[in-house]
Amino acid sequence: MLDLLLLLTLLAIAIWVDSRIQRHGRGAIPRSAGADLGPEAHEYLSRVDAGLELPARDREEIRSELLDHLIDSVAAIEAEGLDQERATREALARLGNPGELARAMNRAHRSTRRLLAGAGGGVFEAGVGAVVGIVFGWILALLCVVVAAILLTTILRPVTDLAAGFLPAFDTDPNATGANTALFAGVCAFAAWMAARRAVRTSHRLSRWSIGTVGRWWALVGGGGLALLVVFVVRGQQTWLAVPVELLIPVAFAFGALFKAHKTFSYAVPHSVLAIGAIGALVLPVVLLMGTSTSAGSYTYSYDSTEQERAWDSVAPAWGQRTYPGIVTTDTGVMLGSPVFDMTYTVEDPATLAGFHDLRFETWRAVHYAGAPAIAQEAMVPDPAYAAPYVTQPALVQDGRIRLHLDLGRVRTTSWLVFLTGVAADGQRYRLIRPEHYVSTFDGTVWEWLTAGS
């Protein structure tokens, strides 16, 4: 939820900053020039201007040039004996239909050379915008995180405490790496928004194509290209938190381009479509996050030793009144944040395993539970949504050691509980070691994540 608020804040700030930048540099030509020409001439010039689909600077220059022409033309006609009103009318008639003149000027300003310059300049400016956006985005993100942290722990504390009982828990991923990916993706989405706006502005200025057309092309090509890149090419640590934010990058680019085009000329996309799209893009991550918090509601009850024991016993009851035989865990290169784990267990007292057969490692999906029993590590318990372990592996005792090589492959789940079990003489399977909590990450593309098993 915090990252969503952060993204919204960043977008709002970006729009405000850009609007401030846009206000600069307008109105270069004094309106007092040609004031003695009369309203008819200025009306004509305004109609030409309305038909121009060119950058503001070009439009101002055309207006200035035509104004200069009209001043000369009217003066020359007046010298022939006509009064100013008729002279102005005659001068305007010689210039022809303002709409046709504007269309001819639009065509005249477009050339292959300028189109290529517009495309190249736009790509360059998009790169600059992306760099500026990332730097600026990180600064803003850090500021927002600090401010949010201060507010949430001070003034807003009573509100968040009150709301905690009603809001769904989004704590589906205790791994901080996923949050970092989401934060970076959020910054990238902000940078994409900035890049798109700069690209559209520069392409429009250099190519002289209408900003609406340029905006739509950038939205289609840039947004589409980024979507392909984000979904199929860029590899990273994927989580349910990060993926929606990553998908926001091409969406932010496309909307940045369309908004830039739409603000100056009011024909690109209706406001309602933009508003619905923007809201949809921002609500989507929340919906997806809520959809993934399947097990969050299962652990809202208060700690109850009986229920807790039942949860554990549904996996495998502890052997010997929750004491474990003499087996010591030796860390031999456990890689946190990797789907592959290696662990060696040293059997200090082999006699303790003599009464067990069918030894095996069981790997269970784990979920966070604040009231977890003391035998678990890091307040994690097996996810009750699953009745069976994700994977089981036979455990062989060799030279007083049991080696575990666990490759979780590409699976979205990130938290695991692994423990050794064995069947005792009474036919019951018991836990033989203290459960180990592992955190894995999913390294791959968004597409691989979306198509992976849960």
Partner: protein
Amino acid sequence: MGIGQIRGQLLKGTTPLLVLRVLSDGELYGYEIAQRVRERSGGAFAPSEGSLYPALHNLEAAGALVATWRKSDRGPRRRYYRLTEVGKGMLAEHESAWASFSAAMKQAMARPDRA
């Protein structure tokens, strides 16, 4: 079709050539260009002022002309156009093409000698 329309059709496409030719004499601004064309043709060719500016901007976009803004004593800034090397080459090509075209037209339009 009236004589004015016929003249308009004939003039169509010649505006860039006339503009380039006039500007080969030196730097001029829009209104001056229109006047100079009219004067040089003895009033026979007067490019439509509405088509003059698109032609100027088109030639500028093609790199044939370069425009410079200068202050004017009687109103807004004034835009002066100057021929570039590309423009000079373009003028030579246009002149050559026009010479062969007009010669061919003259020959085609000549009345056969009935004698």
